[in-house]
């Protein structure tokens, strides 16, 4: 376990060169290109989403620029049946796990159906900070008790480590050895509160010791390092990894050190609480050019391929926006549908009341 941030796992340096002594994970070219493409897709999606919000076509939105490597590469380390438990910022991780971008847009457009992820092992976005840590622990525990064999990856931020639920979740995970990976997207800020104000702990990963398992610090803007660290943690969690010799699966806390380039959400103005210089410093670590340089160096992509990717990325995002905006609005009565498996009498009454109201007055009058 590393308490010294200097020990962080890193494979690519800021120029995309493999650092001395590091082993590049064994990924085929197609997968590496997919990783690169997905990161670009996420970046472009993010820009478009912010602009949709600016244009009043979407509500508050939490951007992820700068955090693509941590999300994409970690999610790519999962097997098909594995589960993820995202916070509100993991649009890219969810995309990798099968959540269409149009779904994500619809959620942020205020349409609950964006969270209806039938067939996917992706939990609905968790807005109350750190609450999902317990859900991931519980689901992982259930899988272990049922012999399911899946891994469970839970995402949360640096700020989340201060909440009681983080503590209780990791503590349960340690006691019951559940097949979970706790993936902390330490983007240095919890809205305006810097990492150092969040806790006096030297690293966030180091907190794992309090729960009797390992913590790993990884360069969260190095997609290869993230991929490797997540793969290792998943192997440990499912009993196939380093701890697996004795068959004892163990959770891991991964601290992926990274930076949020943009605002906390579109409602936030980061210039109030942080310097441009800091942002610029972190932008030098941008994961996308880093991976691109690595791929170019290996002859896996060239200008032409990059251009083609850019074009396909634009088209995919444009399609998603069209799909999201083209979906018909939810019906008012939808809000009564999933409160319980079956509507109670009182809900049926209320639904009828609302329907009557809508019939009598129409949307114009009601929503004026």
């Amino acid at each position: 376990m590393s308490a010294d941030p200097g020990d962080r796992v890193r494979i690519l340096d800021e120029d995309g060169t493999v650092v001395d002594g590091a082993t590049v994970p064994d990924l085929d070219e197609e997968t590496l290109v997919e990783m690169y493409r997905t990161m670009r897709l996420a970046r472009h999606f993010d820009e478009r989403a912010v602009s949709l919000q600016r244009q009043g076509r979407m509500g508050t939105y939490p951007p992820l620029a700068g955090q693509e490597a941590a999300q994409v590469a970690s999610a790519m380390a999962l097997s098909p049946d594995d589960w993820i438990f995202p916070s509100y910022r993991e649009h890219a991780a969810s995309y990798v796990r099968g959540v269409g971008l149009d779904r994500t847009l619809r959620y942020w457009m205020g349409d609950e159906r964006g969270n209806e992820l039938t067939g996917l092992n992706v939990f609905p976005v968790a807005v109350p900070i750190a609450t999902q840590v317990l859900h991931a622990t519980g689901a992982a525990w259930a899988s272990k008790l049922s012999g399911g064999g899946e891994a469970f990856v839970c995402y949360f931020g640096d700020g989340a480590t201060s909440e009681g639920d983080f503590h209780e979740g990791l503590n349960f995970a340690g006691v019951f050895d559940v097949p979970a990976v706790f993936f902390c997207n330490n983007n240095q800020w919890a809205i305006s509160v810097p990492r150092e104000r969040q806790t006096a702990s030297e690293t966030l990963a180091g907190k794992a010791e309090a729960y009797g398992f390992e913590g790993v610090v990884v360069d969260g803007m190095d997609p290869l390092a993230v991929y490797q660290a997540t793969s290792d943690a998943i192997a440990d969690a499912t009993g196939e990894g380093r701890n697996g010799e004795d068959g004892r699966a163990r959770p891991t806390l991964i601290e992926a050190v990274q930076y949020r380039f943009g605002a906390h959400t579109t409602a936030d103005d980061p210039s109030v609480y942080r310097d441009d210089a800091e942002v610029e410093r972190w932008k030098r670590k941008d994961p996308i050019p880093r991976l691109e340089a690595f791929l170019r160096g290996r002859g896996i992509v060239d200008d032409e391929r990059v251009a083609a990717i850019e074009e396909s990325v634009r088209a995919e995002v444009a399609d998603a926006i069209e799909a999201a905006e083209g979906t018909e609005r939810p019906k008012p009565g939808d809000m009564f549908d999933h409160v319980y498996a079956e509507r109670t009498d009182r809900l049926a009454e209320q639904a009828a009341d609302l329907e009557g109201l809508c019939e009598r007055h129409g949307d114009e009058e009601l929503l004026e």
Binding site: E112, R113, N115, E116, L117, T118, L120, F123, P124, P128, T131, V133, L134, H135, A136, T137, G138, A139, A140, W141, A142, S143, L145, S146, G148, G164, D165, E168, G169, N171, F172, V175, D337, H338, V339, Y340, A341, T344, D345, R346
Partner: protein, 332 residues
């Protein structure tokens, strides 16, 4: 109590909890119990006694001391497909889990549009009257009833306890199951050995009467029935309705009784202000004002923190207060 039939046991309410858990655990291997001291120790009220030995440590699990942890992990378990029955040692210790209960358990189905659900039963001993220490006598059912997506159940007999618990465990939605510990061992009742359910959402008329309806639940059912007997001596004919399920509430039975009697008293242990007597009163006068012949009286706990036990008997509604309220209501 009636004599024991071959296939019934004569159980206390807490034994019926245990029997209900046991028979559901036999019926469905996805059912599991977790919480503080529920395993080896069999629960501080012995509600899970013997289950650890019978079902093993993977289905009867002693957890670390963390209520949000217990409920939050149960939500994850339920979403995965199990049917967890977390115990919170006393209902006064559910507050640390309140966020998980209202922000997640109550909303998981809705938030995921049915992709995930939360078939979980949070059990907790509830209510006052047993000379317990501070924070051990809470009766805050109202705060759970106010939360859409939860069901809230309070049994008052051994038979109902097993049946309502089974129905709760089989229910596809999260249930807050509050066990009136004052009557955990106060009396016995016949309980079939076979699994059975008592449907959620149905009140029980415990005593029929024509003059006034008294609506109550849990441990208050007994003093209410006893008050009803006392006033019967003076020719007052009380109907006593045990609500049993507080959410969803059986407004049909509630209104039918009121329409018959035109007078009502609501009895609960919880503090008056913001308690469910208000909800019941509002429902009645919305739907049945025409029938109303007297103000609806509330016999409740006072608006004070539940007192330490030297004063708790003054705090808890009992026969005398209920009797007075019935008489006043009828005399109006």
């Amino acid at each position: 109590m009636s004599t024991q039939k071959p296939d019934t046991q004569n159980l206390t309410l807490v034994q019926a909890v245990r029997d209900g858990l046991k028979s559901e655990m036999h019926r469905d291997e996805d059912v599991l119990v977790l919480g503080e001291d529920v395993g080896k120790n069999g629960g501080v009220f012995r509600a899970t006694e013997g289950l650890y030995e019978e079902f093993g440590e993977d289905r009867v699990i002693d957890t670390p001391l963390a209520e949000s942890g217990i409920v939050g992990t149960s939500i994850g378990m339920a979403a995965y497909g199990l049917r967890p029955v977390p115990e919170i040692q006393f209902s006064g210790f559910m507050y640390p889990a309140f966020d998980q209960i209202v922000s997640h358990a109550a909303r998981l189905r809705n938030r995921s549009r049915g992709r995930f659900s939360c078939p979980m039963v949070v059990r907790a001993p509830y209510g006052g009257g047993i000379r317990a220490p501070e924070h051990h006598s809470e009766s805050k059912e109202a705060i759970y009833v106010h939360e859409a997506g939860l069901k809230v159940v309070v049994p008052s007999t051994p038979y109902d306890t097993k049946g309502l618990l089974a129905a709760s465990i089989r229910d596809p939605d999260p249930v807050i199951f509050l066990e009136p510990k004052l009557i955990y061992r106060a009396f016995r009742g016949d309980v079939p050995e076979e699994p059975y359910t008592v449907e959620l959402g149905e009140a029980a008329v415990r005593r029929e009467g024509a003059d006034v309806s008294v609506f109550t639940w849990g441990a208050m059912t007994r003093p209410t029935l006893s008050a009803a007997e006392s006033v019967a001596d003076d020719g007052i004919d009380c109907e006593v309705v045990d609500m049993r399920t507080l959410s969803p509430m059986d407004t049909d039975t509630l209104l039918a009784s009121f329409e018959k009697t035109g007078r009502a008293v609501v009895v609960h242990e919880a503090p008056k202000t913001g308690g469910l007597a208000g909800e019941i009163t509002a429902t009645i006068q919305e739907e049945a004002l025409y029938y109303q012949e007297a103000p609806i009286e509330r016999v409740t706990g006072f608006d004070v923190p539940y007192p330490l036990y030297a004063l708790e008997d003054y705090y808890m509604p009992e026969d005398t207060r209920i009797e007075e309220a019935i008489r006043e209501t009828v005399a109006f």
